[in-house]
């Protein structure tokens, strides 16, 4: 049950429609004193803030934006439970603050009429008056206050206007008694609700009246299952009550919207005035172009291209990523210079710095993506993008709202998965999250580049317009998309069934994005990613490092070269410059061979040998198998691991000529047969296109779905998919290309 707030601390819950500036108002009221988390068992974000006004402390709970307090899923239930003080480990609010869009008061008052039935002290913040004025709409706030019987405060959250008065009004609620609950429903309906509450009282005595009402209104069966389980008597009673109400001209569930909007109309009589001739606003004109079939589609493609251009550009992302790499290299250099060789040094350099650095290097791309998504959302284009793409996505049972999350995943699955929050339908959001990692992200690029450049013949067709290498790379991207379509379709038919959710969505008017709002969203999301990199990814990296380091028999590895090294070092004393260079080179070759020998006899190497029978049908030898295991924390690790395994040292990257040459000439043990050929290269690429080798992605799925079940599911299904894909690729292409 809920925790009672200590005396004199006021707790206020914020509710309101989406696109009303609710988050901006919350940020304006609480500043940086915020805490975010998740409610247990659901995917609803828990957002708390506080402010102090003349020594009075006020807690704020920011609830998700919604058009109606009608729970039809566990996620929607949270909002109602918090307001009713039924949410575990959550303070029961003393008051409710409803944010109302002044340019759209009519629809916004729907939720106000629901809040009024809760019987909690309520304040209305009338926000976005600038947009209303733009559209020739004036709202008489004083009259609205009279009609509602609730304090109405005019705010302009994006310019921090009216916040002081809002704080004042919130504090003044302490002295006021709670307002009586008020219902817009006809008497017959209210009577039935009272009767139902009495009936429910026999089963669970504390059922609030609002929930009894919702139970009567909810024809989806969700609340019946939640509240009365299999109670057949109550079920029958409810069915009869609905029938009898329908006969009296009060059909369930239509009666709710009819009654509430009738009440809204009465309240607004003479409160809202519109200019006689409805103004054609700038937003209308922009919308006309942007949802136009041709101009709108062109603009859409241009915007999306721009976004990707920025994410992959050298100018911004490239330089920032180079900068981060450089910082980690410097740190590694300092550690290298100041620590003696040994396990600790290796842990710090090869484990911690390489691992965490390898993930943080994606931070610039993630920030740029979030920056764009936040701008698109803030100015109202995100809803249009969903609108434009809905038709395509509805074919696979998703909605247009999945478009931006999946598009972002081509840069990195992490911002993509986090962007899936805009999808309010739980099943759609889950499917989008589960297939997002199949989009070929930028971390796959190094693997594709290395293998394509090394093995795919440099041929081109159509007068050099299309090169075979480009075609192979492109087909990896297409493979990911096709796999995502197939998986989404299968999930819908099997473990996540249900009807296609409605696409009833507001297309908000365009407005200029608030820079501070956009930046704060970007920082918040980027920070969430960094926190992950600091914890789970760190742990994964250390485990994989340990596997590749222990058990360490340095003597055995060095033994075959011991005499030579002594001799070389002695020669070095008397050598001239040219000779010294040759000796140095030989020494570093030996070092690489020793490193390779150590890795081959590490737990990782053993695991590689152990799984060789399993990866043999993919055309892989044990070294590729070991590298695949080592790349569990992050895909691109495979390249440096292969570098070590093939005695080139760990500094190899995808552009490395020696690595290309070496893997080309690698031989199966005791034979003259090449390990790598085109089918093997294709098989590795397909494996990495489809596998879930990214601890950060799995950690974010855990965070966003609030359960370990889905990251584990993702890892298992993607690994199976990757294995089967690689198997088929190798066997089929070997049939055509070998022999």
């Amino acid at each position: 049950m809920s925790v009672d707030a200590p005396a004199q601390t006021l707790t206020v819950a914020l509710v309101g429609n989406p696109n009303t500036g609710k988050s901006t108002l919350f940020n304006g009221l609480s500043g940086i004193r915020q805490k975010t988390g998740n409610y247990p068992g659901v995917t609803v974000e828990k957002k708390h803030g506080t402010f102090n006004h003349h020594g009075q402390k006020v807690n704020l709970i920011d609830l998700p934006g919604t058009y109606s307090l009608a729970p039809r899923s566990p996620d929607e239930m949270v909002t109602v439970d918090v307001l009713l003080g039924r949410q575990a480990n959550e303070i029961k609010p003393n008051a409710v603050l409803v944010i109302v869009d002044a340019s759209n008061v009519e629809r916004n008052l729907y939720i106000v009429s629901q809040v009024k039935e809760l019987g909690l002290p309520t304040i209305v913040a009338l926000n976005m008056g600038d947009i209303a004025a733009d559209r020739g709409i004036t709202v008489d706030a004083a009259k609205l206050q009279d009609r509602l019987g609730l304090p109405v405060v005019v705010t302009q959250a994006n310019r921090r206007g009216g916040l002081e008065q809002l704080r004042e009004t919130i504090i003044s609620l302490l002295e006021k008694p709670a307002t009586a609950a008020e219902s817009p429903f006809p008497a017959e309906f209210r009577e039935k609700v009272d009767q139902l509450q009495t009936q429910l009282g026999k089963v669970s005595p504390d059922t609030p009246r609002y929930l009894a009402e919702r139970l009567l209104l909810d024809t989806t069966g969700y609340l019946e299952k939640e509240m009365i389980g299999g109670g057949q008597d109550l079920h029958n009673w409810i069915v009869e009550a609905r029938q009898s109400l329908a006969q009296q001209g009060q059909p369930i569930p239509a009666i709710e919207a009819i009654s509430r909007y009738k009440w809204v109309q009465q309240v607004l009589e003479g409160v809202v005035t519109r200019e006689a001739n409805r103004r054609v606003t700038l937003s209308d004109r922009i919308d006309k172009v942007l949802t136009n079939r041709i101009a709108g589609t062109v603009f859409f493609v241009v915007i999306m291209t721009l976004m990707f251009q920025a994410v992959f550009s050298d100018l911004v992302a490239g330089n920032l990523m180079g900068g981060i790499e450089w910082i980690f290299e410097q740190v590694a250099g300092v550690v290298d210079a100041n620590l003696a060789d040994g396990a600790l040094k290796s842990l710090l350099i090869d484990g911690v710095i390489a691992g965490v650095g390898g993930v943080l290097v994606f931070l610039p791309q993630i920030c740029i993506l979030f920056f764009f998504i936040a701008i698109l959302e803030d100015c109202g284009y995100l809803a249009r993008a969903a609108y434009l793409m809905d038709r395509l996505f509805s074919k696979i049972g998703l909605s247009g709202k999945s478009f931006i999350p999946l598009l972002s995943s081509f840069a990195c699955a992490i911002p993509g998965i986090m962007a899936a929050r805009v999808i309010e339908n739980r099943r759609d959001r889950l499917i989008t999250i589960l297939v997002a990692p199949l989009m070929s992200c930028s971390a796959r690029m190094p693997v594709y580049i290395l293998l394509t450049a090394a093995f795919i013949p440099d041929e081109s067709y159509l007068f050099g317009l299309i090169s075979l290498q480009t075609l192979v790379m492109l087909s990896m991207y297409i493979l990911g998309i096709l796999a995502a379509v197939g998986v989404a379709f299968t999930l819908r038919k099997t473990i996540l069934p249900g009807e296609t959710p409605p696409f009833v969505m507001e297309l908000p008017s365009y407005k200029f994005p608030s820079i501070s709002g956009v930046l704060s969203v970007m920082v918040e999301k980027a920070w969430a990613f960094v926190r992950r990199a600091g914890t789970l990814i760190f742990a994964m990296t250390v485990i994989v490092w340990a596997l590749s380091y222990f058990p360490r028999d340095e003597k055995a590895a060095v033994a075959p070269f011991a005499d030579e090294v002594v001799q070389l070092n002695a020669d070095l004393e008397t050598a001239n410059t040219a000779e010294a260079n040759a000796i140095e080179e030989r020494l570093s070759e030996i070092q690489n061979e020793v490193d390779g020998e150590l890795l081959r006899h590490s737990f990782l190497g053993m695991a590689g040998h152990w799984i060789e029978p399993a990866v043999r049908p993919l055309g892989w030898d044990w070294r590729i198998g070991s590298a695949a295991i080592a790349s569990f924390p992050a895909r691109e690790v495979i390249i440096s691991t292969m570098g070590v395994l093939y005695n080139l040292g760990g500094d190899e990257d995808e552009e490395s000529q020696p690595l290309r040459e070496t893997i080309k000439s690698a031989k199966w043990a005791d034979t003259e047969e090449n390990v790598f050929n085109i089918p093997v290269a294709l098989s590795i690429m397909v494996f990495f296109a489809l596998c879930a080798q990214c601890a950060a992605t799995l950690a974010v799925i855990k965070r966003e779905t609030n359960s370990w079940r889905w990251p584990i599911f993702t890892f298992v299904y993607m690994t199976v998919l990757a294995y089967v894909g690689a198997l088929v690729t190798y066997q089929v292409s070997a049939l055509f290309l070998l022999n």
């Binding site: 039809r72 709409i137 809803a383 434009l388 038709r391 409605p502 696409f503 969505m505 507001e506």
Partner: protein
């Protein structure tokens, strides 16, 4: 009686009734699509679906199948 999905671009109508047995219809009503409410067709997305309409002073998108649930006054 005609359906909302049959309105031509720029044409206006008044909602007569909604088939409330469908969850999409309940959402539509919550968003203000109740009997007696005027509604105007703004346009459709490039593939002909979904639709964009104006009700109660704002723009709403909905699929054709959902617009089929809304009967208009003749």
């Amino acid at each position: 009686m005609s359906k909302l999905s049959q309105l031509a671009v720029g044409q206006e109508g008044v909602v007569a009734s909604i088939d409330a047995s469908n969850i999409a219809a309940v959402r539509l009503m919550e968003m203000g699509m109740t009997p007696g409410c005027p509604v105007k067709m703004i346009g459709s997305a490039p593939f002909g679906d979904p639709l964009e309409v104006e009700i109660r002073g704002y723009h709403l998108s909905l699929r054709r199948t959902e617009a089929d649930l809304v009967e208009l006054e003749s």
